[in-house]
């Protein structure tokens, strides 16, 4: 069997994988939307146990948020480097993105174990259940992203990440930026806009 043509006709001029991935992101919006909506519905309804004011550490989480934002910048730079065939900087920026993502996960792990130490576990109350499920899902997505980026890094070292493979990096970037945007929403809704009534003096 040989090829009829090396080029495939498409109706839009876009690669199938890019279209599929945007569709996937649309679906993920509903996934995180349901988690965030549940968090909001249950905010302030815990019957016992620690709630937002007592336990969330906004300064610390601001740092981890900044870290994640910077990782998105690194991702953009990584894609640019792949496009122009710059192997060295492609590897530097891919590693940086994955590294900053790992640091974010480190902050999450620290925060989770600190909360448990302070008496807020997964099953303690509604806040625990909704908070850990929402941020846990997000963290799992970050972890998948870190593994993905690491794979791309390895491929780069194998010499298999030239400009012709830029779409792979672009789609990984799409995923990474989406996960970052979801975090911005979570940070805003959970940490910054706390609607749980403050305990009366």
């Amino acid at each position: 069997m040989s090829h009829a043509a090396t080029a495939h006709h498409t109706s839009t001029g876009l690669d199938n994988r890019k279209i599929a991935f945007w569709t996937f992101i649309g679906s993920e919006c509903l996934l995180f939307g349901s988690l965030i909506a549940t968090y909001l519905v249950y905010e302030g309804r815990s019957v016992a146990g620690p709630t937002t004011h007592e336990i969330l550490n906004i300064p610390l989480t601001t740092i981890s948020t900044f870290d994640l934002l910077m990782s998105s910048l690194a991702m953009v730079l990584a894609l640019a480097a792949v496009h122009r065939g710059d192997k060295v900087w492609a590897r530097v920026w891919l590693a940086t993105t994955a590294g900053l993502g790992t640091i974010f996960l480190g902050f999450q792990v620290y925060e989770f174990q600190h909360f448990v130490h302070e008496g807020l576990g997964f099953t303690t109350n509604l806040f625990g259940s909704t908070f850990f499920t929402l941020t846990g899902f997000h963290g799992a997505h970050v972890l998948v992203g870190v593994l993905w980026l690491t794979t791309l890094l390895v491929r780069s070292f194998q010499g298999k990440l030239g400009p012709d493979k830029a779409l792979n990096v672009e789609i990984a970037g799409l995923y990474w930026h989406f996960v970052d945007v979801v975090w911005i929403v979570i940070f805003t809704v959970v940490y910054l806009i706390q609607t749980t009534p403050l305990p009366t003096a």
Binding site: M1, S2, H3, A4, T6, A7, H8, H9, T10, S11, T12, G13, L14, D15, N16, I19, A20, T23, F24, G26, S27, E28, L30, L31, G33, S34, L35, T38, V41, Y42, R45, S46, V47, A48, F122, T123, N125, L126, G128, S129, T130, T133, T151, D164
Partner: protein
């Protein structure tokens, strides 16, 4: 027309024959057949569950089955019919027909397509295995199948009120099935957006492809919502979280909102493909184009969009308050309008035509007639005060069986008879086909029409028996007889399949239809089109020059991707993870199994990503 460069890579040689070729297939046509056969087997299982239920309800106070087993039967009947019969039967058509109708050689991601099928099959087997594996959980056989209803309301499904593994099977099984549907959704959306033949604009696509397109968007937006609802339930059951725990401040209505936010789009997922099929069959056997193509398409899109705004009409008895009741009542009534418009357009298609009452046409007409009845009882439900008497009674059972059996299923049978020659090369026989239709139509009406009465006369749903003092005996007896008759009709269909093996070859276009799939051989060659046509009409085969000629053999060799077993391996990994979760009462074996399953998934994905495979 735009092109993108695709790098060369040697393809694994495809094994065209034998069991292995089916296990590793990535050909949309074979995957379609796999879906169709599997869906039909599960349809028979679901039908058997219904027959046993009807035998139990044939007389008051019967003891054909115990209360506990009956509750498993009605749960599995609903779950099976929705997720393991109607949806995969629709998927069979998505798979086989969509690429042919848009002039493509396959779907966008053939291995993802195979993955969807294997995940579906394994998920279906996982859930049905619950009927057999009771002893593994220290219980009797036939006692651990899901038993909380297909809608699994919290907090009956909580660990406190459902301590056994029944609900675990349900929660995990549905999540597995969700993965299959989502993957297929991404695949078909990309295929329809990006792989249409030159000249096939969106408004030249056949209506079946259009309705399937809308369906895929409903799938990818609705399934994440129920996934989250199920995740909450799973966490409550496995880890002791408090999502549906009232004592901890949780709200049982959260489950209902999440479920029905999925559940209402789900019913449009069930009906739109069948509506698409009917929109193909009617013009062919009326010898006339579809009346109001654009209106029919836009109505389908509108139904999909407005369908997101009606979910709480399943919750009118929960005390939402008069304002919410009014809003959802209004949106539900609103959605009747585009639905009615489609019915009128179908009738107008036949008006002035030259009608051939072949079997596909009989089923399509049956769809219209039965859907009118189901739609009208739906309008009755849309009024909350009236619905307070109707909801949770056999009146609702009548309503949704008219739209799902009389609607979706009859429409799907229209598709089966219509496209059978394209798939298998021979038509099904007309004689048994007509018997099948009339037996099924009569049986269906005998079964479900009396339920309008038994419901309004006070028979609630989901009861294994009823009082002899309620006057419901005759209605129930008639329903039971109808169910048996329907079963006979189904046997006639199965006979027809067997007896049609010796039919003469059907040729490319036995019905003289208008759309692209009828321009190629029956069954199609593995590459579908020897040369991809350029299309200039919505009805390419009915229009002079509507499509450029397609030779019988390709002028130069066509590349066909090989098979792959990594989709099956990855699917297996997912089910192994689910089995690990099922074992959660034994912590260490459960963790080990779950981790092993995850490892299989990761290995499967990596090998899949890096194997040489070219579309």
């Amino acid at each position: 027309m735009a092109t993108t460069a695709v790098p060369h890579a040697p393809a694994a040689p495809a094994a065209p024959r034998g069991l292995w070729s089916w296990i590793t297939t990535t050909d949309h046509k074979r995957i379609g057949v796999l879906y169709g056969v599997s869906a039909f087997i599960f349809f028979l299982i679901g039908g058997l569950e219904a027959l046993v239920m009807r035998l139990q309800l044939g007389a008051p106070g019967a003891s054909v089955v115990s209360a506990e087993f009956y509750n498993q039967l009605f749960t599995m009947h609903g779950t099976t019919m929705v997720f393991l019969a109607i949806m995969p039967l629709s998927a069979a058509f998505f798979n086989f027909i969509i690429p042919l109708q848009i002039g493509a050689r396959d779907v966008a991601f053939p291995r993802l397509n195979a993955f969807s099928y294997w995940v579906f099959l394994l998920g279906a087997l996982f859930m049905n295995a619950s009927f057999l594996v009771g002893p593994l959980f220290g219980a009797d056989a036939l006692s651990v199948a899901p038993n909380g209803g297909w809608f699994g309301y919290a907090n009956l499904t909580s660990p406190q009120y459902s301590p056994g593994p029944n609900i675990d099977f349900w929660v995990l099984g549905l999540q597995i099935l969700g993965v299959a549907s989502l993957a297929a959704g991404f695949n078909f959306i990309t295929t329809i957006i990006n792989m249409r033949a030159p000249g096939m604009s969106l408004m030249r696509m056949p209506v079946f492809t259009w309705m399937s397109f809308v369906t895929q968007f409903l799938i990818i937006t609705a399934f994440p919502v129920i996934t989250i609802g199920l995740v909450f339930l799973m966490f409550d059951r496995l880890f002791g979280t408090t999502f549906y725990n009232v004592a901890a401040g949780g709200d049982v209505l959260l489950w209902q909102h999440l479920f029905w936010l999925f559940g209402h789009p789900e019913v449009y997922i069930l009906i739109l493909p069948a509506m698409g099929i009917v929109s193909e069959v009617l013009p062919t056997f009326s010898r006339k184009p579809l009346f109001g193509y654009a209106v029919v398409v836009y109505s389908g899109v509108l139904i999909g969009i407005v369908g997101w705004g009606v979910w709480a009409h399943h919750m009118f008895s929960t005390g939402l308050g008069p304002i919410a009741d009014s809003v959802f009542s209004a949106s539900t009534m609103l959605i009747a309008v585009p639905t009615g418009v489609k019915i009128f357009n179908w009738i107008a298609t036949m008006w002035g035509g030259r009608l051939e009452f072949r079997t596909p046409m009989l089923f399509a007409i049956g769809f219209i007639s039965m859907f009118i009845i189901g739609g009208l009882s739906g309008v009755m439900h849309s009024s909350p005060p009236a619905d307070l008497q109707q909801t949770d009674t056999y009146f609702v059972v009548a309503h949704f069986h008219y739209v799902l059996f009389g609607g979706a299923l009859l429409g799907l049978f229209a598709g089966i008879y219509y496209w059978w020659p394209k798939v298998f090369g021979r038509t099904l026989r007309e004689g048994p086909g007509k018997w099948h239709f009339w037996l099924m139509l009569l049986g269906m009406n005998l079964t479900f029409f009396p339920m309008h009465f038994s419901g309004l006369l006070g028979m609630p749903r989901r009861i294994y028996t009823y009082g002899a003092d309620l006057g419901l005996d005759t209605f129930n007896l008639i329903s039971t007889i109808g169910a048996l008759l329907t079963g006979v009709g189904l046997l006639v269909f199965m006979y027809n399949v067997w007896a049609s093996r010796s039919q003469p070859a059907a040729g490319k276009n036995p019905w003289n239809a208008a759309t692209l799939e009828w321009a190629i051989a029956s069954p199609p060659p593995v590459y579908n089109f020897a040369v991809l046509p350029t299309v200039s009409s919505r009805l390419p085969l009915w229009t002079e020059g509507g499509a450029t000629p397609i030779p019988d053999t390709p002028p130069e060799p066509v590349h066909v991707p090989g098979g792959s077993y990594w989709p099956l391996v990855t699917a297996l990994g997912i089910v192994i993870m689910a089995i690990g979760a099922l074992m959660h009462r034994a912590l260490v074996p459960s963790l080990l199994t779950g981790i092993a399953g995850a490892a299989v998934v990761v290995v499967g994905i990596y090998r899949w990503a890096f194997e040489p495979f070219e579309v």
